[in-house]
Amino acid sequence: MTDFDVIVVGAGPAGAAAALEAARAGRSVCLLERGPYPGSKNMYGGVVYGRVLDSLIPNWWEEAPIQRWVTRRSTMLMTGDQAVTVDYRCSSWGEAPYNGATAFRPEFDAWLASKAEAAGAVLICSTTATGLLRDGTRVVGVRTDRPDGDLTAQVVICCDGVNSFLAKEAGLYPPSDPANYTLGVKETILLPREVIDERFAVRGDHGVDIEILGCTGEVPGGGFLYTNAESLAVGLVLSLPKLAACGRRPEEILAELKAHSAIAPLIEGGQVKEYSAHVIPEAGYKMMPELIGDGILVAGDAAAMCLAAGIWLEGVNFAIGSGAAAGQAAARAVQRRDTSSAGLQDYRRRLDSNFVMSDHRKLREAPHLVMSDLAQQQLPRIACGVMEQLFTVTNPDPKPGLRKIIRGQMKLNNLKLRDAISQGMKALRTFG
């Protein structure tokens, strides 16, 4: 007899979704959270895409604690003093059922966890799972940092975030390769709501998501700027080994982004409220661990479910999708009294049949492409150089042809046509 049918470790989006689904299926569920409340240990700057919530919480948008609905999506290619921006605006994204939103994760995670509690899950905060309990090779529970802190269950779902110690202890992770990880750093900058509305040309609860390429100098990575209700999230994602090798501090590189002529006017006069940093499982599909073991499942960032595919940067929806699938599979396995690795294979089937694994499998080369020299260095310089030449009036000289400008910029940036076509084909195969 175990204490619970299912223990979920970590009350982030993956853990809350897993606990919610398992509890709804009638299983006894314990949701462990190391922070004093769900989301308290979180560091996040991004957009929450809520379509995955439609089946979990109907009309979720009526109650979810969001900051702004994203109705502008900009992609910016940047050099030291230039920027080219592709800006897309969609007013229907600002109406139900919406598309994506900025949110404060302490609020969002607590809200989602409250749904799991309402479904019957028992949430225990300020409690860290320090290890696994085993019966032979089979996981039968977790050890916590509380006195007499052993807790048994038929299935343990690890949603303990990137660098999951439990999944590693279970032997589900291969040895870590730092190249698979990036470091995310972020500043939250306070600005009055009306100033944000004016600077970003939005109204009401509409907001903007700006993704930036070419802003990280010699370190491969990218930048972002999101609007919250009364603050901005400005940050960088930086290749971990390259950052270590270059010897620069991430805050230095972030300061350069903030001082760029395309960004500085947007954040001018703001008050820095917080600075935070977090490791991101950047490599996605290629770094995923074994997702299933005897009595154990892995979901969310713990399973490297973060999608960092350049034009698509998503995490919370993949966490919720994988967590929900884990919760459903665990509940089914408990009902069938087979929580062995074979009995839990339903988890893999559910992931394969929905967007979580389909997108990751399809875009498995995308993180590598995005971190390549072409995307990081040459593309931003060529794009900005072409624009500068295109729009600089050089009378009395006649206007140069577009083809000549592009070829000149490619030559200037050491990009051969053959390599450009080759990389373009790769990109088409990946994103196409």
């Binding site: 308290s40 916590t144 509380r146 802190g149």
Partner: protein, 295 residues
């Protein structure tokens, strides 16, 4: 609390805590304070009060006394999840007196005292944190002692149990000195946060506490409508002519009057009325009452 709550044969210890904003967000423009459940909680000294009560109860229980530890909280409904944690660490009962808005220390004490009066709870020791986190003045324990008619020992930095019903307390004095007190029931004491760290509850107790019920008391107190506090009249600053002098030093000397003759100190032994007259006379002589308010 009713008479059934009494523990007549043993010792009742009550730890008083207050749900307070720990990290308030203050609007820089209009100064409004935004509170949220997640940034609210109990101060370290409140936790020390609960732990002290539990330690005393344990010590006296080991000597054969029946001890009951009650945690009494002034706070809103938001506090209940956190209050259940006190069951997990060993509190016998947890009672919340509904307090949904900011009140003065005197009013908080009155509210707590209304749930503590001897007819309702026979508390031998009421243990409080020395200050709450929301700009606490540390005066709630003193008000409590006044309302309950108990002796008081406040701002303690150490507590040791002796015989059941009595304890040694240590209080900080000026100049690094310490005062040792022998306290017997009934007393209100307040402890600093450094006195004790609240113990960590076991997992089983934490789970069991989820099912416990925090008792609610809605005390009816008709507080008078508060008016904005009137400050005592202060004379306006005098306008002085710019000091004359060729250099900065001489101008500063003239401005401060550092080398001019000063009024010699006088000691007067007068009746209160005469003393008031003398003070006014001296103030007028110094020129402070030129713009005194109309009578």
């Amino acid at each position: 609390m009713n008479s059934a709550d009494l523990n007549p044969a043993g010792i009742n210890l009550v730890a008083c805590v207050k749900w307070a904003e720990l990290r308030p967000e203050i609007d820089p423009l209009h100064g409004s304070v935004e509170a949220s459940q997640r940034s609210s909680g109990f101060s370290s000294s409140d936790f020390a009060a609960v732990e002290s009560a539990l330690r005393l109860a344990q010590a006296w229980s080991d000597q054969g006394q029946v001890c009951v530890v009650t945690v009494l909280c002034a706070g809103p409904e938001d506090a209940e999840d956190s209050l259940r944690d006190f069951f997990a660490v060993g509190a016998t009962r947890v009672v919340r007196v509904d307090l949904a808005e900011q009140r003065s220390s005197a009013q908080v004490a009155e509210l707590l005292a209304s749930a503590l009066v001897p007819s309702q709870l026979n508390a031998q020791f009421v243990i409080c944190g020395d200050v709450s986190s929301d700009r606490g003045s540390g005066s709630v324990p003193a008000y409590l002692a006044h309302h309950l008619g108990m002796q008081q020992a406040l701002g303690l930095i150490g507590l040791e149990s002796t015989d059941p019903g009595s304890l040694h307390a240590t209080r900080r004095l000026d100049g690094g000195r310490r005062e040792r007190l022998l306290l017997t029931a009934a007393a209100v004491i307040s402890v600093e946060g450094s006195v004790a760290t609240l113990r960590r509850s076991s997992l089983a107790a934490t789970l069991a506490a989820k099912q416990k019920t925090v008792e609610l008391r809605k005390q009816q107190i008709d507080w008078p409508t508060e008016v904005n506090r009137l400050r005592p009249w202060r004379p306006r600053a005098r306008v002085l002519a710019p000091p004359a002098g060729d250099d900065a030093l001489s101008r500063i000397l003239e401005l401060t009057g550092a080398q001019s003759g000063s009024t010699a100190a006088r000691t007067l032994r007068l009746d209160p009325e005469q003393a008031a007259e003398a003070v006014l006379e001296q103030l007028a002589a110094w020129g402070y009452l030129d713009d005194s308010p109309p009578a």
